[in-house]
């Protein structure tokens, strides 16, 4: 097992696609439907090797979520996965500690490579 990845994404079909890309690659996958759940899951799973996070979600968006988490202390690397491409959002995510930004749709093989290179070592 290569470690635990948290997916924070409001679309069930996107969560399914991500899971089906990552599980065969050896990752354990847990998920959350929005930024509020995402924060709860991060606190409950301090052993995460990576977070994959959408931007536009109900209740709490992804940028706000990672800014909130960053204020609370160091955490696993973050990869944003979104349809957004505004430079201002990308800069905000980078400033909040994100290590990457993927614009949907994602290539499963390239996603796994990105996760492998960014994930925290076990």
């Amino acid at each position: 097992m290569r470690g635990k990845v948290l997916i924070v994404e409001d679309s069930t079909t996107m969560r399914d696609q991500l899971r089906r890309a990552l599980v065969p690659a050896g990752y354990e996958v847990i998920d959350a439907r929005d930024g509020v759940e995402g924060i709860e899951m991060v606190k409950r799973h301090p052993d995460l090797v990576l977070l994959i996070c959408d931007v536009n979600m109900p209740r709490m968006d992804g940028i706000t979520m990672i800014e909130t988490l960053r204020a609370e202390g160091p955490m696993a690397p973050i990869l944003m996965l979104t349809t957004e491409g505004q430079p201002e959002l990308i800069q905000k995510a980078k400033a909040a500690g994100a290590r990457g930004w993927i614009i949907k749709p994602f290539d499963p093989r390239l996603l796994v490579k990105a996760v492998s290179s960014l994930a925290r070592p076990l």
Binding site: S11, G85, I103, K104, P105
Partner: protein
């Protein structure tokens, strides 16, 4: 190319990119023509300082299922998953339009999609700025419409800059 033609081209290119080779034909159609018994409809609103509007798409469940990227999962998609995927398609479509418009200096902020089931969509009036499109795919027909209002100051033809596109990965 006038602005309507430009918007139509941008929209068709965004759909064709989204459907990744599945589109057999793409045409702009009279928005006040017959409505469609589409069963699944997704709409997303958007706004910015220079543009605002709504984008929508509609199709039957069979077409939506056929457009799911994982062939091995298509038969497993229930009603809820099909509705979710319809919303995600609308989300990704608007995302592509946004990126194209962003390269032309137009910034948009978008809401999350709303998915309606068991409805038909009919554009009521030719007086609105609604543009409607028909995309033929192997599994059937996929309809889209765009209600876009641009400020007069927007020039879609000039000053196109480079910028990220769908599928791009950036690392920091």
């Amino acid at each position: 190319m006038d602005i309507n033609e430009r918007i139509s081209r941008i929209t068709c290119e965004a759909f064709e990119g989204l459907l990744n080779g599945a589109v057999v034909s793409a045409v702009s159609v009279d928005p006040t023509g017959d409505g469609q018994e589409a069963e699944l409809v997704a709409v997303i609103g958007f706004s910015g300082s220079q543009a605002r509007g709504v984008i929508g798409l509609s199709a039957t469940p069979d077409v939506i299922r056929a457009l799911y990227p994982r062939e091995d999962s298509r038969d497993d998609l229930g009603e809820a998953e099909l509705a979710d995927w319809t919303g995600e398609l609308a989300n990704q479509l608007l995302g592509r339009l946004k990126l194209d418009l962003m390269r032309r200096g137009v910034q948009l902020w978008m809401a999350t999609p709303v998915v309606l089931r068991g409805v038909s969509v009919h554009v009521a009036s030719s007086r609105t700025a609604v543009r409607k499109f028909r995309f033929d795919v192997d599994a059937g027909v996929f309809w889209a419409w765009l209600d876009l209002t641009l400020d007069e100051s927007v020039d879609l033809e000039s000053n196109e800059t480079t910028g990220p596109g769908a599928g791009d990965m950036l690392f920091f």
